[in-house]
């Protein structure tokens, strides 16, 4: 059997322009204008943030993107640590997705922080007791590791020789890259341990960091499933529902664990009554748990869960549930306290547009990188593996 080296796409580089892509570019450029305005006039002028609510949409978006970018971390653990080879087609794209997510987080943060020129201060004046310090350091370290992993993928196309040279260090890089996110995913939850009297007791628990870590882990396969179905149907590639079903099983089991842990946490702290108090906090929490755990688990258990549509609903429900868990902590859980201060918050036009604009940029980056680098197939150069030539040709036609 001849060794297969990566051939797609047939042209060496491909920068397809479509109306949708132009539209996204336009939104991004427009958001840049507003972002410059914010740098010129300050946060007060252009955002809805205020003394009572100093963290808003941007922090909410960042918390979510970091958690969803956990897809890179959990799929890497499955494929590079436990070496479950059948999931390799998803882990590589999730690495890219996750890296782009982290870049997006940093871009949003550099608009969000008041003294962006001081971004380097924590490196020389470390506040080691702050969960924020751990989040920052872990994200930076993780991104360095991700760059190494991405260079390896890029080298596959540009310089296979270099890729071979990198081989000896890769297992160490993989292990490090699977360890570091344990730090920041959990620390994101511990950020709110500093507000025990402000955050609604439904969420304010010492369990929060562990729950954040667990949910970021199990939502990874959800993101992977949604991305895989969306991309593969777009590029008319084969959709291996059996493989996806296996992935969804890992998620579903951990969702059940999460459900039990969160339930036990509420019972032990005597907060179960607040959940069913039929107020904003209680209802939002129920919605969060239904989307994050109940719906996906039920779908997984019925035959529908094995179909492409079922898997898509599984993934989307898990993702929406995760988004709600984070937004509920940032907004719903804090709203009563903000209200008691006589404050309120609604994101400004600039906050909304800049967030959408940067998401468009991230989306474009993902499209162009995947269309130019080997992200959509299994591990090439490995003589044990055959590539699906038919799919490869279809892929070339689809992106042309």
């Amino acid at each position: 059997m001849k060794n297969w080296t990566f051939k797609t796409p047939k042209e060496r580089w491909n920068f397809r322009v479509t109306p949708v892509r132009l539209g996204m570019l336009a939104v991004f450029v427009f958001s840049l204008v507003l972002i410059f305005a914010r740098y010129y006039a300050g946060l007060g002028e252009w955002t809805g943030l205020n003394d009572e609510m100093p963290w808003g949409l941007w922090i909410g978006a960042d918390m979510n993107v970091i958690a969803l970018a956990g897809a890179g971390f959990s799929t890497a653990i499955i494929t590079h640590i436990f070496h479950v080879e059948k999931y390799e087609p998803v882990s590589r794209r999730c690495l890219l997705l996750s890296f782009i997510g982290y870049v997006l987080v940093l871009l949003i943060l550099i608009i969000e922080i008041g003294r962006w020129d001081n971004f380097w201060r924590p490196f020389v004046s470390p506040g080691i007791h702050s969960p924020m310090f751990e989040v920052y350091m872990c994200i930076v370290a993780y991104m360095v590791l991700q760059v190494i992993e991405l260079v390896e993928v890029g080298a596959e196309k540009v310089s296979p020789k270099f890729k071979k040279k990198m081989h000896p260090i890769m297992q160490v890089v993989f292990i490090a890259a699977c360890t570091v996110p344990l730090g920041h995913q959990a620390s994101l939850g511990s950020l709110y341990l500093a507000m025990p009297a402000k955050l609604d007791p439904i969420w304010a628990s010492q369990m929060m960091p562990w729950l954040f870590l667990l949910s970021a882990f199990f939502v990874g396969p959800c993101v992977a499933i949604v991305e895989y179905i969306w991309t593969n149907s777009r590029y008319k590639m084969k959709i291996d529902t059996e493989m996806l079903y296996g992935l969804s099983r890992i998620s579903a089991v951990l969702m059940a664990v999460y459900f039990v842990l969160k339930g036990a946490d509420l019972v032990m702290r005597g907060q179960l009554g607040n959940v069913f108090a039929f107020n904003l906090e209680g209802n939002m929490f129920i919605l969060e748990m239904v989307l994050l755990c109940v719906v996906p688990i039920i779908i997984h258990l019925i035959p529908f869960g094995k179909t492409q549509g079922g898997l898509l609903v599984f993934g989307l429900s898990g993702m929406c549930g995760l988004v709600l868990t984070r937004l509920n902590v940032v907004f719903t859980g804090m709203s009563a306290h903000i209200g008691s201060l006589g404050g309120g918050y609604f994101p400004s036009f600039m906050e909304i547009v800049s967030t959408i604009g940067l998401f468009c940029l991230a989306f474009l980056a993902y499209l162009y990188i995947t269309e130019n680098f080997p992200f959509f197939y299994g591990v090439p150069g490995d003589s044990d593996k055959k590539v699906d030539v038919e799919t490869e040709n279809e892929f070339n036609q689809a992106i042309m």
Binding site: H83, R115, S130, M195, P196, M334
Partner: protein
């Protein structure tokens, strides 16, 4: 930079003695060279009155409150400023180490180091730090406990001008003793020294004849300090990394070995 607090100072606020004159708020503005303009609206405002709020220009206010006492409406005047926690949340959550305590226990902010994440604002149990939202390069603003005056053995500007002795300044032990003595000497007082135990204790202490909850003080604060609460998790940081790295290495070696064995068996079957 990280001074040990060796000479913890306190101000004891006797809310029954405050007449709401606002002298302390003026002294604060003068000592710290701050204008009376509201930073958002630009309108000149007093820092004492019925509808006053701390902001980046106003580090202390005296709020005039109409409250119920024994079935009657009465006025009470509440001075607000940074409480200067013994274990400050702002300082512990700052990832650029922009806060530190002086020897006298004043919680200081260094704008040079601040990244502007505003975690201190949201973490403060008393919602004290305020932001210069109107500025292009903003800083966090809050009462500094007149740290240079304290270092020289003087009382803070506000306490030094109080005409009714509602603000008493001294060492924290003295002020706590005075607070308890005052409460015992007169049964009009509520038996609670606010700030003695809240979030691990604060430099500023309050005694009152009206419930603190009615006067706008947060009453649901734990006695455990915020840094200790956060440390409940951050103590696991290094163990998590160690256990994680070891577990992943072990799992990786085991999984590879198992694959190799399976491969071998597969070959033999052929």
């Amino acid at each position: 930079m990280a001074n040990k607090v060796t000479d913890q100072k306190s101000v004891l606020v006797d809310l029954t003695k405050c007449v709401g004159c606002g002298s302390c708020t003026v002294a604060c503005k003068l000592w710290n060279s701050q204008s009376f303009e509201n930073p958002q609206t630009g309108v000149m405002e007093n820092a004492h009155g019925t509808d006053v709020k701390l902001d980046s220009n106003t580090w202390t206010t005296v709020e005039h409150l109409k409250v119920q006492k024994d079935g009657q409406e009465v006025w009470r005047f509440v001075k607000r400023q940074c409480m200067h926690c013994l274990e400050p949340a702002c300082s512990s959550v700052c990832f650029a180490h922009a806060f530190h305590q002086t020897e006298q226990g004043a919680v200081q902010y260094d704008p040079e180091l601040c990244v502007g994440c505003r975690y201190c604002m949201i973490a403060c149990p008393f919602d004290v730090p305020k932001y210069e939202w109107e500025k292009v390069m903003p800083s966090v603003m809050k009462c500094q406990f007149c740290s240079s005056k304290l270092a020289d053995g003087e009382s803070p500007a506000c306490a030094s001008v109080c005409p009714t002795n509602a603000l008493m300044f001294g060492s924290r032990e003295e002020m706590l003793a005075l607070a308890h003595k005052t409460i015992e000497s007169d049964n009009k007082y509520i038996n609670h020294v606010y700030g003695e135990k809240e979030v691990g204790g604060t430099s500023w202490l309050y005694i009152s004849d009206v419930d603190f909850g009615e006067l706008g003080f947060p009453t649901n604060l734990p006695e455990k300090s915020i840094p200790k609460n956060v440390h409940g998790f951050t103590q696991f940081t290094l163990p998590i990394f160690a256990v994680g790295a070891l577990a992943w290495t072990g799992a990786s070696i085991y999984a590879k070995r198992r694959h190799a064995v399976a491969h071998e068996e597969h070959k033999n079957e052929k």
